[in-house]
C-alpha cells in the first residue's frame, strides 16, 4: 500500500485524533458555552503525561516508567483533568471570559514547562524513542498504520457514542440549561458552577486523552508539537463543523485538517519559491477567515445543533 492510500491512512489517524480533541472542546463550548483558549495546553499535558509514563528510562531524569501504553494514555488524560481542575476552580465561579484568559495563560505556562523542565519533559530536545504500542506485531509500517487507524477510529467512535448518550441524559439537559439560562438552572436546584466544572474537566480529559494517542502514533514528543496555532486549528474544526453537534465535530476535524494540508500542498505547488515565505501566513489567514466568516454567516456551522433553545437577542 503506497501512494495516496498510504497518505490517506496517515491523514485519517491524525484527523481522527484531532476529532477527539474537537469533541472534548465541543462538550465545553458547544454544550456548555465555555471558551477554552488553551486547548493546546491540555493536549500537551496528555501527550507529555503519556510520554513520561511509557517512555524508557533516561539518565538523570524524572519518569521513564516504561508502563504499558493504555495506562500511559489514561494517566496523561488524568493529568489533563487535574490541570483543568486547577484552572476551573479558579475561574468558573467568575465572569465567563476569565476562563478564556486563564486557559490561554495555562497553555503558555505548560509550553514553558515543556520547553524548560528538562528533567521531566526533555526540554527543547523533547522525548524520543517512545515505544509505539504493538509495533512488533506488524510486518510493515503500512500495516501498522492501518492498525493504528483502526484503534483511533474505534476510540473516536466510543467517545462519540458516550458523548451522545451524555448530552441526551438528564446531565446533558442540565448542561444546556446552564448555558441558556443560568438563573433558571439555579432555580431548579442545580449548581451551575459545579455543572460547568464537570463539563470543563471532562472536556479537557478527552483533549488530554487524544494527546496520548498522538504520542503513541508519532513516538516522539517535543514542545514544537504544541504551538498556539493548534488551538486555532482545533477551534476552526469545531466552528466549521458545527458546535453543539458531535458529528459536526468529527466532520470539522477531517474537513479542516484536510483543507489545511491540501492548502499547504497547493501553496507548495503553485507559489514559486520566492513567494513561499508568505504561504504559511496565507494558510493561517484562511483559517482565521474561516472561523470569523463562519461565526458571522453560518453560526451553526456545516452540521450545527438544531435550534431548540431560546435566543436572548438584545439591542446594543
Amino acid at each position: 500500500m503506497t501512494g495516496f492510500a498510504a497518505y490517506l491512512v496517515f491523514f485519517l489517524i491524525i484527523a481522527l485524533t484531532y476529532s477527539i480533541v474537537v469533541m472534548g472542546l465541543n462538550l465545553q463550548w458547544g454544550f456548555t458555552g465555555l471558551f477554552n483558549a488553551g486547548v493546546v495546553g491540555f493536549f500537551a499535558v496528555g501527550a507529555y503525561g503519556t510520554a513520561v509514563l511509557i517512555g524508557p528510562e533516561r539518565a538523570g531524569a524524572i519518569g521513564g516508567f516504561g508502563l504499558p501504553f493504555p495506562i500511559g494514555v489514561l494517566g496523561g488524560a488524568a493529568l489533563a483533568a487535574l490541570a483543568a481542575l486547577i484552572v476551573g476552580l479558579a475561574t468558573l465561579r467568575l465572569r465567563e471570559e476569565y476562563l478564556a484568559i486563564a486557559t490561554f495563560g495555562i497553555a503558555i505556562s505548560i509550553q514553558l514547562i515543556a520547553l524548560n523542565f528538562e528533567a521531566l519533559t526533555g526540554g527543547a530536545m523533547g522525548l524520543i524513542s517512545l515505544p509505539r504500542p504493538m509495533l512488533d506485531v506488524f510486518s510493515s509500517p503500512a500495516h501498522y498504520n492501518l492498525f493504528y487507524l483502526g484503534v483511533v477510529a474505534i476510540l473516536a467512535l466510543v467517545v462519540y457514542l458516550a458523548l451522545e448518550r451524555a448530552v441526551t441524559s438528564p446531565w446533558g439537559r442540565v448542561l444546556k440549561a446552564v448555558r441558556e439560562d443560568e438563573t433558571a438552572a439555579r432555580s431548579l436546584g442545580k449548581n451551575p458552577v459545579l455543572i460547568r466544572l464537570q463539563s470543563f474537566v471532562l472536556g479537557c480529559t478527552l483533549i488530554g486523552f487524544a494527546g496520548g494517542l498522538y504520542v503513541g502514533f508519532i513516538g516522539y514528543v517535543s514542545p514544537l508539537d504544541f504551538l498556539p496555532i493548534l488551538t486555532f486549528q482545533i477551534w476552526a474544526m469545531l466552528i466549521v463543523g458545527g458546535s453543539g453537534n458531535n458529528r459536526g465535530a468529527i466532520a470539522g476535524a477531517i474537513g479542516v485538517w484536510g483543507l489545511w494540508t491540501m492548502s499547504g500542498l497547493l501553496i507548495s505547488q503553485v507559489l514559486p519559491v520566492q513567494f513561499q515565505s508568505q504561504g504559511g501566513a496565507i494558510q493561517v489567514i484562511l483559517i482565521g477567515l474561516l472561523i470569523v466568516l463562519t461565526l458571522l454567516f453560518r453560526p451553526r456551522g456545516l452540521i450545527g445543533e438544531r435550534e431548540t433553545v431560546s435566543k436572548h437577542a438584545g439591542p446594543r
Binding site: F11, M125, I218, S222, D225, V270, V273
Partner: protein, 412 residues
C-alpha cells in the same frame, strides 16, 4: 500572487517529458522563518544548476519545498505527502531537530526514503543512528555540536577569557552546544560564569542579559539565531556587557552584524563550519552572488546546498529515484578517491560525464570535502570569522586534523 501563479505554471509546463521530484521540508514560516527561506533558495540553486547540467538520468528535477511552519505535526504531514504523493526518494531537511526527528522516525525511515538535513545538529540523531534507529537513511551536512564547542573553547583559551557567560537559545541546538561548550571549557581549565537560556522570538532579552551580567564575566558566548541574537547582543552591549564576544555558527549573517552595529563587534569572534578557501567554496559563493546579488552569509546556506547536491549526485550515481539506492550511492560519491567535482553547472556536468563512464566521483562541496561517518554525521573543517570594516571576514581556519587534535586533547 497572480504573477506568482503564472510563474509557477510556466516552470511546470517547461519541464521535459520525464521528471523526478526531490522534496524539502523547511521552516519557511514560524520561528525559523528568518533563515528558512534563504535555506530554501540554496536548495533551489543546486536543483537549478543540476537541471542546467542536464538533470538526473536525463530527467528534469522538480524541487518540491514544503513549509513545516516550525511545527512537527505540520512537518510530518508535509513529509508524508512528499513521500506518498510526490514519490520523492529524498527529503531534505528539516531545519530544527525537533521537526527532523519525527519526520525521520515516522515518515522517511519507515518508507525507506533518504533524509538529509542541512541544519539539525542535535546529538540525539547520532545516538539514534548508532542504535540502528535510522537504518542508514539519515544524513546531515553540518557537523554535530561537539567539535564546534571544542574549537570555541580553544579560542576562548587563546584569547585568555577566564570567566565566560553563556547565553543560549532554548532549543535543541542551543542546549546541546552550550553544554558541550561548558564541558570543553572546563576541561581546558576555564570557567563558565553562567548559563542563561532564552526563549525564542521574544521582543526583549533584558532579564536574561541582566541575569548573565550578574557573574561579572569577562566574555560572552552567544548561541543564537541572527534575529534573536541581535536583540540579545544589543541589550548586552547597551547594558554594559563586555564586547569580548564569542558567536555561534548561526550568527554568521549580515543581518546580525547590521542589527548590532559593526563597531561593537570588533572584538567578537565567531565560528562556522563552512570552509572558505578552495575552488569548491568559491564556486558556490560565486553562483549564489550571481543569482541573488548578495554574499551567501547566513546559517544553513552552504550545508543546504551540499545536502541537495549530494542527493542529486547520488540519484545520478544510483541510476534510479529510489530512497534505498540513494542512501547507498551517497557514500560512493562523497568519500573515496574519485575525481573531485565542485559545485556549479560545470561541476555537475563533469560529475555526470564521469558517472556515465563508470568512473568514481568525489564531491567536494560548498562546505568543503564531505565524509559521512557510519551514523550519517560529518566532521568538517571550521572557519573563524570576525567583523572588519563593517563586513564579515575570515580570521582563521581549522582543518579537520586540527579539530580532531583539539578533541583528542580533551578526551585525552
Amino acid at each position: 500572487m497572480v504573477a506568482g501563479l503564472q510563474v509557477g505554471t510556466a516552470t511546470t509546463a517547461s519541464a521535459q517529458d520525464c521528471q523526478v521530484s526531490i522534496g524539502a521540508v523547511l521552516s519557511i514560516t514560524g520561528s525559523m522563518a528568518a533563515i528558512g527561506s534563504a535555506i530554501g533558495d540554496a536548495g533551489q540553486l543546486a536543483v537549478d544548476q543540476f537541471n542546467e547540467a542536464g538533470g538526473v538520468n536525463g530527467c528534469q528535477i522538480r524541487y518540491v519545498l514544503r513549509d513545516d511552519q516550525g511545527s512537527p505535526n505540520v512537518g510530518v504531514d508535509a513529509a508524508k505527502t512528499l513521500v506518498e504523493i510526490e514519490n520523492v526518494p529524498v527529503v531534505l531537511g528539516a531545519i530544527q531537530s525537533g521537526v527532523s526527528l519525527p519526520v525521520l522516525t515516522s515518515v522517511t525511515v519507515p518508507a525507506k526514503v533518504t533524509q538529509i538535513s542541512c541544519c539539525s545538529s542535535a546529538p540525539s540523531f547520532t545516538d539514534l543512528a548508532a542504535s540502528g534507529g535510522t537504518d542508514g537513511y539519515w544524513f546531515r551536512t553540518l557537523p554535530t555540536d561537539r567539535p564546534q564547542a571544542v574549537v570555541m573553547a580553544n579560542i576562548a583559551r587563546e584569547k585568555g577569557y577566564k570567566n565566560i557567560a553563556v547565553i543560549y537559545v532554548n532549543s535543541d541546538y542551543g542546549v546541546s552546544l552550550s553544554r558541550q561548550f561548558k564541558a570543553a571549557t572546563e576541561a581546558l581549565g576555564g570557567q563558565v560564569a553562567s548559563m542563561t537560556a532564552y526563549n525564542q522570538e521574544q521582543a526583549s532579552y533584558r532579564a536574561e542579559v541582566n541575569s548573565a551580567l550578574q557573574g561579572e564575566p569577562d566574555a560572552l558566548f552567544l548561541i543564537a539565531f541572527p534575529a534573536d541574537g541581535a536583540t540579545a547582543a544589543r541589550e548586552w552591549i547597551s547594558f554594559g556587557g563586555t564586547q569580548n564576544m564569542l558567536l555561534s555558527n548561526a550568527l554568521r549573517a549580515d543581518e546580525f552584524v547590521d542589527a548590532v552595529g559593526a563597531q561593537y563587534l570588533s572584538n567578537a569572534v565567531g565560528i562556522d563550519n563552512a570552509q572558505v578557501e578552495g575552488p569548491s567554496v568559491d564556486a558556490f559563493n560565486t553562483a549564489w552572488s550571481a543569482k541573488f546579488g548578495s554574499a551567501p552569509n547566513g546559517p544553513g546556506l552552504h550545508t543546504m546546498y551540499d545536502a541537495a547536491a549530494v542527493a542529486l549526485l547520488a540519484m545520478e550515481q544510483g541510476g534510479e529515484a529510489n530512497g534505498t539506492v540513494v542512501r547507498d550511492s551517497i557514500r560512493l560519491i562523497t568519500g573515496g578517491e574519485g575525481e573531485v567535482v565542485n559545485p556549479g553547472v560545470e561541476g555537475f556536468k563533469r560529475a555526470k560525464e564521469l558517472i556515465a563512464q563508470g568512473k568514481p566521483v568525489r564531491y567536494v562541496g560548498a562546505t568543503g570535502p564531505i565524509t559521512f561517518d557510519a551514523n550519517g554525521d560529518v566532521t568538517g573543517p571550521y572557519l573563524i570569522w570576525g567583523v572588519k570594516d563593517d563586513a564579515l571576514t575570515t580570521l582563521d581556519t581549522w582543518d579537520s586534523a586540527r579539530v580532531d587534535a583539539a578533541i583528542a586533547e580533551i578526551d585525552g
